[in-house]
Symmetry: C2
Subunit: 638 residues, 2 copies
Amino acid sequence: MTREKFIDFTKDHIIYLDGATGSNLVKAGMPSGVCPEQWILEHREVMLQLQKEYVQAGTNILYAPTFTANRVKLAEYHLEKNMSSMIHDLVAISKEAAASTPGHPVYVAGDITMTGEQLRPMGKMELEDLIAIYKEQILCLVDAGADLLVVETMMSLAETRAALIAAKEVCDLPVIATLTFEADGRTLFGTDAKTAAVVLESLGASAIGANCSTGPAQMEGIISDMVSVTMIPIIAKPNAGLPFLDENGTTCYNMEAEEFTEEMQVLVNAGATILGGCCGTTPEFIRQIHDRFGTETRVTAARRPEDIRYLTSERITHSFGLEDGFFVVGERINPTGKKALQAQLREGNFEKVIQFAEEQETCGAKVLDINMGMSGIDEKLCMLRALEEVSGVTNLPLSLDSSYVEVLEAALRNYPGRALVNSVSLETEKFEKLLPIVAKYGAMFILLPLSDAGLPKDIEEKKEIIHKIYDRALSLGMRKEDIVVDGLVATVGANPKAALETLETIRYCKSNGFATICGLSNISFAMPERGFVNTAFLTLAIQSGLTMAIANPSQEMLMSCALATDLLLNKEEAALRYIEYAGGVKERREEKEAELSRKLALLEQQGTKADSTDNTEVPSAVTASKDTPQINEMQEKL
Amino acid sequence: MTREKFIDFTKDHIIYLDGATGSNLVKAGMPSGVCPEQWILEHREVMLQLQKEYVQAGTNILYAPTFTANRVKLAEYHLEKNMSSMIHDLVAISKEAAASTPGHPVYVAGDITMTGEQLRPMGKMELEDLIAIYKEQILCLVDAGADLLVVETMMSLAETRAALIAAKEVCDLPVIATLTFEADGRTLFGTDAKTAAVVLESLGASAIGANCSTGPAQMEGIISDMVSVTMIPIIAKPNAGLPFLDENGTTCYNMEAEEFTEEMQVLVNAGATILGGCCGTTPEFIRQIHDRFGTETRVTAARRPEDIRYLTSERITHSFGLEDGFFVVGERINPTGKKALQAQLREGNFEKVIQFAEEQETCGAKVLDINMGMSGIDEKLCMLRALEEVSGVTNLPLSLDSSYVEVLEAALRNYPGRALVNSVSLETEKFEKLLPIVAKYGAMFILLPLSDAGLPKDIEEKKEIIHKIYDRALSLGMRKEDIVVDGLVATVGANPKAALETLETIRYCKSNGFATICGLSNISFAMPERGFVNTAFLTLAIQSGLTMAIANPSQEMLMSCALATDLLLNKEEAALRYIEYAGGVKERREEKEAELSRKLALLEQQGTKADSTDNTEVPSAVTASKDTPQINEMQEKL
Ligand SMILES: [Zn+2]
Ligand SMILES: [Zn+2]
Ligand SMILES: [Zn+2]
C-alpha cells in the first residue's frame, strides 16, 4: 500500500481496525510469561480464527501479531535469531485472515511497539541503536508483505519518532501510530496529545491517535486535541472500559460491546475516523461499532486552522498564528561573546546553559534557541548534550541553531519534538542539503533571505530568495506554515533605511501569509543606550506584523513594551498577558527600591559624615527606572 | 486702500517706499531736541519738497511724517492735546506730495513707531494702555486720510503686535510693519527675523520686513529668513550703510546711492519686493534703485514650504512639517493633581512653574503647555502671570491651555509670539466664540474632535467634526497648517480598541495633511507600569504619523524610544538627535550607578553585619534600568 493509496482509502471513510489480541489470547489460554509471538505461532489456528472474526465483523486493517517481535523483546526468550522467520509466519496468519472475506478489502499492518528499553537520558538505549532495532523489525515486516505499519501502545514520543524515522529510512509504507495516555492526558513520559499529534504528523505519519489507555469516553479530550491540530485521520482504539481482576485473577474489562459502542459516539463526534478496540474488546465490539457508524464519515469537528503553526518540545506545544500575540525566542544559550559560558562548555559543564534555559522561561520566552557554535569543542556533541540538558529543565520547544548542516541534522534526528531550525538560506549547502533534511524531520525553519552572493541588494531580491526557498520547500512536501522568514535586520547607524527595509519585509511576509522573526541587536549597533532603539524597533516590527523575535527575554523594557504593543493592537488575551507580566515587573522594581532605600537609610543612619555628597539626592537613586507616571507624579509632589 | 487692493498692488510688482526723513530734515536744519512733528509743521515746505522728490524718484508709498505722533511722545513736548490736528496736517503734506505726479499712483502710509515706554514686564507700560495709545494715533491717521499704516523701526515684537492689534480693532486698512535688527540678527528685545515674520504675518500684516538696522548687504540674512517663512511681500528699507560723525558732529552715512543700489541687489535676490531706504538715504537713492530694479518682480527665492508650520515665542520659532521629527509639548505646568504647585499658585508663587519650564526645556520639550485651571485662583491673572514668568526663563513657544474662552482670549492677546491654543472643539462656546478669537490673533490651535454631545461615537463622526471645524477655520481666513488635530486617546483597559482608533485617526489626519497631537496617559489608565504602555503607544503613534505629543518630557524611556522611533523611521537628523539625547541618558545613568555603587560599597565597608540580606545581590541594585544589552551582557559575563 502506498501512502497516497492510504489517503484515498481513508478519505471520507470510517475505517475499522481490529479489537484486542492479547486479552483474547489470554482468554484462549495463553499463559503469562511466554513469548506471545512464539505462543501464537504454536497456536496458529487460535490467532487465525480471531482475526477472521475481526474481518467478518468489519475490520479494514488487521494488526499482524508482531507487536513485540523486535530484537530486544525476542532476546528475552533467546528468540532474536528467529525474528525474520517468526515475523514472516506471523504476518502470514493475518494475510490469510485478511483474504478470508473477498468482499471487502482488508489490509495487514505490521505491528511495532516499544522495546522495553528506555532511551537516553532516562534509560541506556541510544537513539541510533533503537532506530536500528526498528529498522530490522520493519525490514522483516516489509519482507513478510505487510501493507502498512502501525506503531502502537507507545508511551514515549521519542521512541515513536525513532520508529517513524526507521520506517522512513527503509521503506515507503504508510505508517500509522497510536500512543497510550494516562489519566492526566499525557503519556507516561509526559507528552500531551497535541504535541504527539503535531510531531508525528509533521514526521510523516499517515494517521495517528490513541490506543489502550482508557475506555472510549475518557479518550474524548485526547482525540479532540489531536483532531484540532492535524489534518490526517485520527485513530481511536480504546479499551473496553476499566480493567478489574475476576475471581480467577484474570484481568477483565468492565464494558460490554453495547456500552462501548454507545461511548464510541463521543470519539466519532470528536473527529476520530479510524476506529478499533484495545484490551478487552472482541470481534463483537468491532461488529457493533461497524454497524453503528457505517463507512461514511461526517466529520464536523474543526481540524487544524489553516493559519496556525506549531512548535513543540517532547511534552508541550506552542501554537501561534499571524494575528496572535508576539513572542520571544530566547537567544541566550549561545556562547558568542560569553566568556564564562565558553569556559564551561569547554569543560563539558552545562550549568550556565541550564541556568539560561530556566531564566529565559521564567522571563517569558516561548521557544529557546540553542547555539553551540564556538571553537575548541565538538559542536555536534555539545548540541546533543545541550538539547538533553535543556529538555531536562524546561518543556519549551527549542530552536536548533548552527552554521553546520551536520550539527543541525544530528539535532533534528535527536530532538524529540517539533523544532525550529535556525536557519535555511539560499546558500548552496543550506538550500541543497539542509532543506531536505528539515523536510525529512518535519521541522519548521527560519528562512534567512541570503544567497551565496551575500545579502540581497534590495527588497525585490529578498522576495525572490524567499520565493525560491518557499517553492523548494513546497516541492519537498512542506507548507507555508513551516516557514518563518527572518526580516534580516541591518544596522541603522550604517544604513539609515535599515529599519524601514526590515519593516517592509515583515509587512510583505505578513500579507503573504509567512510568519516572521527578527534579531534585534543588530539594529542598534554602535548607538548609545541600545535598549531604547531595540525596544522602539520591536514595537514597530510588531505593528508591522512580526510574529516573533530572537532576543534576550530578561530585558524588561523590551518585553514590557512588546506586550504593551500587543495590548494596544488588541490582540487576543494581550491585556491579561501585559497585566501579568508588568505586575511582575512592578513587584521586582518595588522590592529593589525598598531594598535600596533600606540600605541607603542604613547608611545615613550610620552617620557617614565622610560622605560629601548631597543626601537629598538619595531619592533620585531610584530614578534609574523613573519612567512610570506614578513616579513622576510622586517627584512632582515632593 | 483695502487689504485686497494692497495684495493686487504688490503682487508681482516691486514697490518703492521713500527714503530717509529724519536724516534729511536734520540736513535741512532741524535741530536736535525739538518735536520733529512740530518742526515739520513749522517747515511744511521742506517736508513737502522732500516727499515730492521721493515721488518723482519713483516712490509708490510715502510715509506720512507721523512717526512719533503718539500720545506718549507728544506729551514730552506737551503737545498731546494737539495730536489729532497735527496728524491731520502732517498727513495732508504727504497727500499733497503724493498727488504731485498724476502719472503713477502713490499711497500715503500713516507712520507709527514705538512710544519709548517699554511694555511690562521690562517696563511699566501695560499692553492694554499701549494698544489704546496706538488706537488713538491710528484713528487720527485714518481720519486724516492715510491709505495704509506702517509700523516701523520697531525693536519690540510685542509692541509691534500691539500696534497691529490696535489697527485691527479700529480700522480695515492694510498694515505693513518693519523691525530693526541688531548685528546678531535679533531685535534689541531678542526677536529673530523668522519669528517676527511668522508672528506678524499670522496676525494679519500685509507686508513685513526690516528697516534701518544696517546697510543693505548686512540685511541679507534677515530678509531671506523672512522670505523663507512667509507668503506676504517682504520689505527692505536699509540705511545708507554705516553711520559716522562728520567734522561738524553731524551723523552721516558711508554709502552713496550707487553703492547702495549695488548692494540692494542681494536683498532683491533674497526676495524683498518692497524696497526703500532708511537713515542716510535720499531721493537719489530711491531713483537709482527704481531705475535698476524696475517694477516687475522676478522672485526666485523660495517662500514658506506648503507643509511647514510655525510656533513661536517672542524670540524663537519652532517649525515642523508632517514628515519631520516628533516632538513633545511639555505638559507639566498644570496644577491638576499637583498639590504643591496648587499651594504655590494660591500664594502667587511661580517658583514651581518656572522650575517645570526650565526642566522641561532641558529634557527636550519643544513647546510648553500652560494650564492654570484650578479652584481658588483668578485663572486669567494667573495665566498672564505664568506667560510672563515662563517667557522669562525659556524661549520655547507656549501652548495656551484653558477651558475658558476668556482666559484664552487674554492669553492670546498678551502672548508676544505665535501660540498653540489648547483647544477648539465643536462645543458651541469653543466653536462660536473661541475659533474667531484664535483666527484674530493668528494662533495655531488644537482641534479637539468633541461636540456638545460629547465624544464622537465612531471614526466617521470624528472625521465630520474635524471637517466642520476645519471649514469654519478656513472661512475665518485660517489654513490647514493652523490646525493640530487631537487624536483623542481613550483608555485601552476600558476599550480594547482605544489605541487602534486613535492610530486610525492619526493616519487619517496625516494622509489629509493635518498635524496631530496626543495625550498619552489616558491610554494606560489602571494598567500596571503605565510607562511601558505609554511608550509603546507613542512609538506606534509616531509610526502612524503623530506630529507631537503632550507629555512629561522627563520620562527618559518615553523620550528615548520616541527619538529612537524617529531614527528608525529615517527622519531627518533623527540619528543625531537620538545620539545626543541617549548620550545624556547614558551619562546620568552611569553617574547614578557609580554613586549608588559608591554608597553601597561604603555600606559594606562599614561592615553592616546587621544586614541580613545577601550581599551578592548588590550588583542587581542597578538593574532597575538593566534594559541595555551592555548590562545584560555584563551580567552574563559575571
Ligand atoms: Zn490495550
Ligand atoms: Zn513562488
Ligand atoms: Zn533709519
